[in-house]
Amino acid sequence: MHADPRCVLTGTHFINGDAACCEGALAAGARFAAGYPITPSTEIVERFAARAPKVGGLFIQMEDELASSIALQGMVWAGQKSFTVTSGPGYSLMMEHIGFAAITETPCVFVDVQRGGPSTGLPTLPAQGDMMQARFGSHGDYLTIALCPNSPQECFDLTIKAFNLAEKFRVPVMFMMDECVGHMTEKVVIPAADQIEVQPRRHASKPPSEFKLFEPGPDLVPEMAHAGEGYKVYVTGLTHDKRGYPLMNPQSQRELVTRLFDKIRRAADELTIIEAEGLDDADVVVVSYGITSRVAQRAIQMARDKGLKVGKLRLICVWPFPEKVIRDLAPKVKALVVPELNMGQVVLEVERCASGQCRVISVPHPGGTVHKPAEILAAIERGAR
């Protein structure tokens, strides 16, 4: 189905990434959000608090991030699309409820506008230090999806994508912005509502007497029923059977956790969302994501000006990691250069998938600002030797 035109601010705008993310959420069908103020993410919910009531929704400022990350799931089980927005310290507090959303298969979006850490760190300055937290932050085993925009336009486009993927796979989707992308103001084109594809809730197609809340469909994703519809849903964070009833033994654990993995693993192709350029004859490929990809773009250009054969691989969907892309690429290149605004997180995945078939050069940065193009260029030159 298409976006509801009443929620879409069609036109050309000059707004920052936070504002674009808010508009993306509205276009995707979210009319409810719960959050707690934290720099540099707050502008998203400030705008949402002004916009949502006009379209029958609301923003509730909860007492902390623990509360907002579970209140949003109450909103989803009431039949709405919902999200929360935070940054580093708040994201840490939300971890338990990312796990709850994973095991209860609650479709929702967690926006993390990354800032420097650990702890209070750099509240107003960028980093990409939460990437592994987005993958492994909550206890236990689960898979989720994480998207990394690199411009305000993508903050709009990919927020819609994040909601659509959340609904399709019934997972919490991590929307991994950073301070730069959040506060950067650029042109954002919001298309007409009928040009925006929106994934509706995968609602129960059977009547209550025949419906099982966690019975997987052909793609391993169960259909959903909401409170107040007569389905008498049973939703628990305990390991459960197809009815949702607690069933705690090794076999039910194996069935549930395996399915939570497989529903994402099976969709690896669909979830390989990358931007690639000049890979065919490249000696060196720069693998980057988020704001760092824009600095990398400059470094790549500088290297090409020096006559080096450099390719670009931008990870738009970082989790699940595009394993096949790296596995295919590694034997064909001399080196993969991985700049990121952390001390080396996603590079570990690149190394794992490259399996020693090429050099993998990490270009770490503790955050607070972005790389200098020359730092990435130096790594490219090292890789090309």
């Binding site: 006009k54 509730i60 909860m62 902390d64 109450g74 509706p200 409170a227 049973y234």
Partner: protein, 295 residues
């Protein structure tokens, strides 16, 4: 001798998920007794059970939601109230009841309890107080009275105990009551009254825990607890909540302490927003995708 149908239908059965019985609760536990009062209150009012959701946190009392044949949500430890808040705000037609324990609601979830009362979110909260963390094996709680023994206070507790009615009264709850598992009829009437009221309603129910609290403190079995509740309880409706502290061996002040009118969160929101709030019926396309006449 031909077999005789001995089963007499209890109307409460319809409100329970029969396929989940027996419960995990120990013999003598009072949680089931409170559930019986709750079920009778629901049935007596004839409220729309299809529109009634029950939300719990973690712990023995956290299992209540899963035994009720309603929309059941068994959430994370301490977070039943914020989940219920989201549920209610996103669908104001729902009757949302939070049913959980003292450790869950007042300790790990204490902040949410305060703020839900302050906001006057339209929720009914039932807090079963067994004065101990029972699910995890008998550790001291914020509600453990006086110098009680527990597995984490092997030489006796020394932290002062929390007075729940006073806390939620101060935070702004519009209805506050306390009963014990002994007061089954009074509890049912109070629950019925609270179910009919709008705003943040809070009912504390003292429950025996023969397995942990009583055993650790040589207080006898469940029956002894009932005798103790009967002996020590003093009904004081309208009592100032600062006089309701539960002191070891002292009076157990029970009754309906607070019953005030206060506009709830959504009413206040609508008034404040005025013309900035727009009713928003769903798109026709979404309706068409529903499955059956019941949806």
């Amino acid at each position: 001798m031909s077999s005789v149908e001995l089963h007499v239908h209890n109307p409460v059965e319809d409100l329970l998920r029969q396929d989940r019985i027996p419960t995990i609760w120990c013999p003598g536990c009072g949680i089931g007794t409170t559930v019986n009062s709750f079920a009778h209150a629901l049935l007596g009012l004839g409220i729309d059970l299809k529109k009634t959701s029950i939300v719990s946190g973690i712990g023995c009392s956290g299992r209540v939601s899963g035994y009720m044949n309603l929309d059941s949500f068994h959430t994370t430890h301490g977070r039943a109230i914020p989940f219920a808040t989201g549920l209610k705000l996103a669908n104001p037609e729902l009757n949302v009841i939070v049913y959980s324990g003292d450790g869950d609601l007042t300790s790990i979830g204490g902040n949410h309890l305060i703020h839900a009362a302050r906001r006057n979110i339209d929720l009914m909260v039932v807090c079963v107080n067994n004065m101990i963390y029972a699910m995890t094996g008998g550790q001291a709680a914020a509600t453990t009275p006086g110098t009680s023994m527990s597995t984490t206070t092997p030489y006796g507790a020394f932290e002062p105990e929390l007075n729940m009615p006073q806390l939620v009264d101060a935070a702004g709850a519009c209805f506050v009551a306390r009963w014990t598992a002994f007061h089954v009829k009074q509890l049912e009437r109070t629950m019925a009254k609270a179910l009919n009221k709008k705003g943040f309603r809070f009912i504390e129910v003292l429950s025996p825990c023969p397995t942990y609290y009583q055993r650790k403190n040589n207080l006898g079995d469940a029956l002894a607890a009932m005798v103790d509740y009967k002996k020590r309880s003093k009904i004081k409706n309208g009592c100032n909540t600062w006089e309701t502290a539960l002191l070891p061996g002292g009076d157990i002040i029970v009754g309906e302490f607070v019953d005030r009118e206060r506009e709830d969160y959504l009413t206040l929101m609508r008034r404040q927003l005025g013309s900035n709030y727009t009713e928003f019926p769903p798109q026709a396309e979404e309706e068409a995708e529903r499955c059956c006449s019941e949806c």
